[in-house]
C-alpha cells in the first residue's frame, strides 16, 4: 500500500526533519491523497500515544535484589561475580587471592612455629627425647627378636636334617618346628608392635597434658594478677593444688620393655608442676597494678582490607534494613595522635591507664604501642615520661576538624566506619569512611552486626550529646557490647556540662579481661574516634 509513497519524505514529515520546501510539497501531496493523509495522521497519532504511555514503577527494588544476589554469589564463591571479567578486575581478584594465600601461609607458619616451640620445650625437659629413645630401643629390640627367631628356625631345620639323616622326614619335622618357632616370633613381634603403639599414644597424651598444664599455669597467673590488683591475696597452695592433680591424674605404667618411660613422664610432670609453682610464686611476689595495653593487631569490620565492598555493603545493608541514611562516602587520612592523648596515657590520675613513671618493666609493652614505638631505644631504656615528651615534640598537631555533619535529632549519632589498618604511624592511604546517621540505641547494634576481623579498624564518630544520653548509652554498651572502653581525655580539666558526655559515657567502665579494648578519645567538636583493638594484654610491673 505504501510502496507508491516516498518513504523518506513521509518519515521526514512525520519526524519533522523536512525543509520548509519539502514540507510544503508533501503537504500538497497529503491534500491530494486522502489515503496518504489518513495514514500519516494515524502514524502521528500512534506516535503521540506511545509518548503518553505511563511510566511504570517496578513493584520491588530490583537493584536491591540483584545486589543481594551478587553478595550471595560473592560469599559462596560462585561465578557471576561483579567486575570479574575485566583485566583490571582480574588483577583485583588476583590480589585478593594472593592476600588469602598469604594469610593462609602466615597462619600455617605460625602453627608450625608454635609446634616447633612446643616440641623444643618438651625436648628441653627431656621428655620427648626419652620417649624417642625408648621407641628406638623398642624397634631395635623387635627387629633383633625377629632376626633371632628366624635364625633359630633355620638352625632347627638344619639340625633336624643332620640328626635324622632322612631328607624327607627331616624336612617334615624341621619345617613343623620351624613354623612353630616362626609363629611364636610373629606373636612376639605383634606384642612388641602393640607396645610401641601404646608408647606413641602415651606420648600424645603426655603432650596434651603438658599443654593443658602450661595453659592452666598461665591462667592461674592471670587470675592471681587480677585478684592481686583488686587487693586480694593469692592463694599459692590452692594454685599448686589445681596444677598438681592435673599433672598426676594419668600415671604412666611401665611394662617389660619400657625401661624409663614412667620415670621420664613423672619427671616431666614434676618439672611442669615446679614451673607452675615458680610462676605463681613470682606472680605472688610482684603485686602490681593492672596495665592494659592494646596490641598491634587491630580488628575491623568485615573482610580483608583489600575487599572494601563487602564491608561497605554490610554497612549499607544494615543501614537499609534499619532505615538509616548513608549520605557521605569520603576518603580520609588517618588521624594523628596528639600530645594530649599521650599525656593522658601516662597520667597516673586516669584510672584505667594509670602508669607509674618508674615502672621500667612495662616499657617494652608500651613500646609496642604505636604511639611509643618511634622513640623506643632499648639500650637507654628511657622513662615513660621521657618518651611521652619526646613523642609529643615529634607528633603532629591535633587533627584537623572534620566536616561538620548536620543532625536533626540530639540523640542521633554520626557513625563513621573507617577501614584501615589503624597503625597510626603508617598513615595508610586507602581508607574509606562511610558516614551514616544512626540513633544512639543503634550504635551497639551496628558494631555487633559488623563482623570484626584483624587488620582493619573501625571508627565511630559522633556528635556531642547530652550527659543524660551519655549515661543511657553507657549502660547500654556495658550490657550489650563485648568491648572494653577506655576513655582518653584530651582536656585535662573537663567542664562540668554537657560537653563532658564522652567522659561520662566511657570513663570508669568496668574492664573485662577477655574483651577487646576500645580507646576512646574526643578530638574536635564533632568526631569521636574509637579504635577497636583485638586483645587485652596484661602487663605486670613492680610497684
Amino acid at each position: 500500500m505504501t510502496d507508491r509513497y516516498d518513504q523518506d519524505k513521509m518519515l521526514g514529515y512525520i519526524e519533522d526533519t523536512l525543509s520548509d520546501a519539502e514540507r510544503v510539497s508533501f503537504e500538497a501531496e497529503l491534500a491530494k491523497d486522502d489515503a496518504l493523509r489518513k495514514l500519516v495522521e494515524g502514524i502521528m497519532e500512534d506516535m503521540g500515544l506511545l509518548g503518553e504511555l505511563p511510566v511504570e514503577k517496578p513493584g520491588i527494588d530490583l537493584v536491591e535484589e540483584v545486589m543481594q544476589q551478587q553478595e550471595r554469589n560473592m560469599l559462596l564463591g560462585e561465578p557471576d561475580q561483579p567486575l570479574s571479567m575485566d583485566r583490571d578486575d582480574r588483577g583485583v581478584v588476583g590480589r585478593i587471592r594472593f592476600t588469602k594465600v598469604l594469610s593462609y601461609t602466615a597462619a600455617a607458619a605460625i602453627l608450625i612455629l608454635c609446634g616447633g616451640v612446643m616440641v623444643a620445650t618438651l625436648f628441653d625437659k627431656g621428655l620427648l627425647s626419652d620417649l624417642a629413645n625408648e621407641a628406638k630401643t623398642l624397634t631395635v629390640a623387635q627387629d633383633s627378636v625377629e632376626n633371632e627367631t628366624l635364625a633359630m628356625a633355620d638352625m632347627a631345620i638344619e639340625g633336624a636334617a643332620v640328626a635324622k639323616g632322612s631328607r624327607k622326614s627331616l624336612a617334615a619335622n624341621g619345617y613343623q618346628s620351624a613354623h612353630a618357632i616362626q609363629a611364636e616370633a610373629e606373636a612376639k613381634a605383634d606384642e612388641l608392635t602393640k607396645e610401641r603403639d601404646r608408647y606413641i599414644a602415651e606420648n600424645a597424651r603426655l603432650q596434651k597434658q603438658v599443654q593443658a598444664l602450661a595453659m592452666k599455669s598461665k591462667s592461674n597467673d592471670l587470675q592471681k594478677t587480677f585478684r592481686s590488683d583488686q587487693g586480694e591475696k593469692t592463694d599459692q597452695p590452692a594454685l599448686m593444688a589445681m596444677a598438681q592433680p592435673k599433672a598426676t591424674t594419668r600415671p604412666i605404667r611401665s611394662s617389660g620393655q619400657r625401661r624409663s618411660s614412667g620415670l621420664s613422664a613423672t619427671g616431666a610432670n614434676q618439672q611442669l608442676g615446679a614451673a607452675a609453682s615458680e610462676r605463681s610464686q613470682t606472680a605472688k611476689d610482684a603485686v602490681r597494678p593492672l596495665v592494659i595495653v592494646p596490641t598491634q593487631r587491630v580488628v575491623a569490620l568485615n573482610v580483608d582490607t583489600d575487599s572494601m565492598y563487602a564491608t561497605e555493603q554490610q554497612v549499607l545493608r544494615w543501614a537499609s534494613a534499619n532505615d538509616v541514611d548513608v549520605y557521605k562516602t569520603t576518603v580520609k587520612p588517618e588521624r594523628a595522635v596528639t600530645s594530649a592523648q599521650i599525656s593522658n596515657y601516662i597520667d597516673p590520675r586516669k584510672g584505667n591507664m594509670a602508669l607509674d613513671q618508674e615502672r621500667s618493666e612495662s616499657s617494652s609493652a608500651l613500646a609496642e604501642m604505636p604511639m611509643f614505638r618511634k622513640n623506643v631505644n632499648e639500650n637507654q631504656k628511657p622513662t615513660l615520661a621521657d618518651r611521652a615528651r619526646s613523642f609529643a615534640q615529634t607528633s603532629e598537631a591535633p587533627q584537623k576538624s572534620s566536616e561538620p555533619v548536620k543532625s536533626e535529632d540530639a540523640a542521633v549519632f554520626m557513625a563513621g566506619a573507617t577501614l584501615s589498618n589503624s597503625k597510626l604511624e603508617e598513615q595508610p592511604t586507602n581508607q574509606k569512611e562511610i558516614v551514616i546517621e544512626i540513633r544512639a540505641d543503634q550504635l551497639s547494634e551496628l558494631v555487633r552486626t559488623l563482623k570484626v576481623r584483624r587488620n582493619q579498624g573501625i571508627k565511630v564518630v559522633s556528635k556531642p550529646i547530652t550527659t543524660a544520653e551519655a549515661k543511657d548509652i553507657n549502660s547500654q554498651i556495658q550490657s550489650q557490647l563485648p568491648l572494653n572502653f577506655i576513655w582518653i581525655d584530651e582536656n585535662p580539666t573537663p567542664q562540668i556540662n554537657d560537653e563532658n558526655w564522652g567522659e561520662v559515657m566511657f570513663q570508669n567502665m568496668p574492664l573485662v579481661k577477655s574483651r577487646p579494648v576500645l580507646r576512646v578519645q574526643p578530638t574536635s567538636q564533632i568526631h569521636l574516634p574509637i579504635t577497636i583493638t583485638e586483645e587485652v594484654e596484661v602487663i605486670e610491673s613492680k610497684e
Binding site: 523518506d8 506511545l50 505511563p54 511504570e56 537493584v63 545486589m67 557471576d80 571479567m85 575485566d86
Partner: protein, 220 residues
C-alpha cells in the same frame, strides 16, 4: 547524568565501590524496567529481564570503554536481554506439548493480551486520562504486542525513550539509514496493527449488539 558525573561514577564502580554501582543501577532502574516492560509486555517478566540486565551490566561494566553513553550501553543490554527472553519464550511455547501449535498471530494475540492485562494490572492510570484515551492506550499496547521485537524495540527507543537516530543506531548496532527505514516500517506495522485491533473490536461489538448494525461494519 553529566558526562563528568558518569565518568566519576564509572571510575568509582571500577574501583569496586558497591555504593556507586548501586547508585548507577538505581538511577536507571525505572527507565530500564519500562523498556523491558514494553518489550516483554508483562510486569513479572519485565522485572526478571531487568534484573538480568543489571547482572549483565555488573559483570560487563569492566568492558565498558565509554564509546557510547553509559545509559545507551545499558539500554542496549536491556533490549538484547528482552529480545533474548522473548525468543526463548517463543521457543518454549513452540516446543510445548501442552499447547496446540499456533501461528504467529496466535502468539502475538497471547502477547498482546498479556501486555494489556499485565500493564493494566500494575498501573493506575491518572484520573486526568479520559476514557477514550485509556482505551486507545490499551489498544496501542495490544498492537505493540503484535509487532516483531525489532519493531517494538525501535519504536520504544524512538517514541518512548525519545532517542536520536544515532543513539538508536548505537543501541541496536545498526547503521543510521537502516534505523530510519526500520523505524518507518515499524510505524507502518504499528498502524496496521492498530487498524486491525480497531476493526476486530468494532466487529466484536457489532456481533454483541446483534446483527442489526452488521452492515455498518466497515472493512478496509
Amino acid at each position: 547524568m553529566t558526562q563528568v558525573g558518569e565518568r566519576e561514577l564509572l571510575s568509582q564502580i571500577k574501583k569496586g565501590n558497591q555504593a556507586a554501582l548501586g547508585s548507577l543501577l538505581k538511577s536507571q532502574q525505572t527507565r530500564l524496567f519500562n523498556i523491558c516492560l514494553r518489550m516483554v509486555g508483562n510486569r513479572d517478566d519485565a522485572s526478571e529481564v531487568t534484573q538480568e540486565t543489571f547482572l549483565k551490566v555488573i559483570s560487563n561494566i569492566g568492558k565498558y570503554r565509554g564509546e557510547a553513553k553509559l545509559s545507551t550501553w545499558m539500554t542496549r543490554i536491556a533490549i538484547n536481554q528482552s529480545i533474548s527472553f522473548l525468543r526463548k519464550q517463543q521457543y518454549r511455547r513452540t516446543v510445548s506439548l501442552d499447547q496446540p501449535a499456533g501461528g504467529s498471530v496466535g502468539v502475538s494475540d497471547d502477547q498482546a493480551t498479556a501486555l494489556r492485562s499485565q500493564i493494566a494490572d500494575g498501573r493506575e492510570p491518572g484520573p486526568d486520562l479520559s476514557v477514550e484515551k485509556k482505551e486507545m492506550l490499551g489498544k496501542l499496547q495490544d498492537a505493540m504486542g503484535d509487532l516483531d521485537e525489532e519493531f517494538r524495540a525501535i519504536l520504544i527507543l524512538r517514541d518512548i525513550e525519545q532517542m536520536e537516530y544515532k543513539q538508536i543506531a548505537d543501541v541496536l548496532h545498526l547503521p543510521q539509514g537502516t534505523v530510519k527505514s526500520r523505524l518507518f516500517r515499524a510505524r507502518l506495522a504499528l498502524r496496521e496493527a492498530m487498524q486491525r485491533r480497531c476493526s476486530e473490536e468494532s466487529s466484536t461489538s457489532g456481533a454483541i449488539s446483534g446483527g442489526v448494525k452488521q452492515g455498518e461494519v466497515h472493512h478496509d
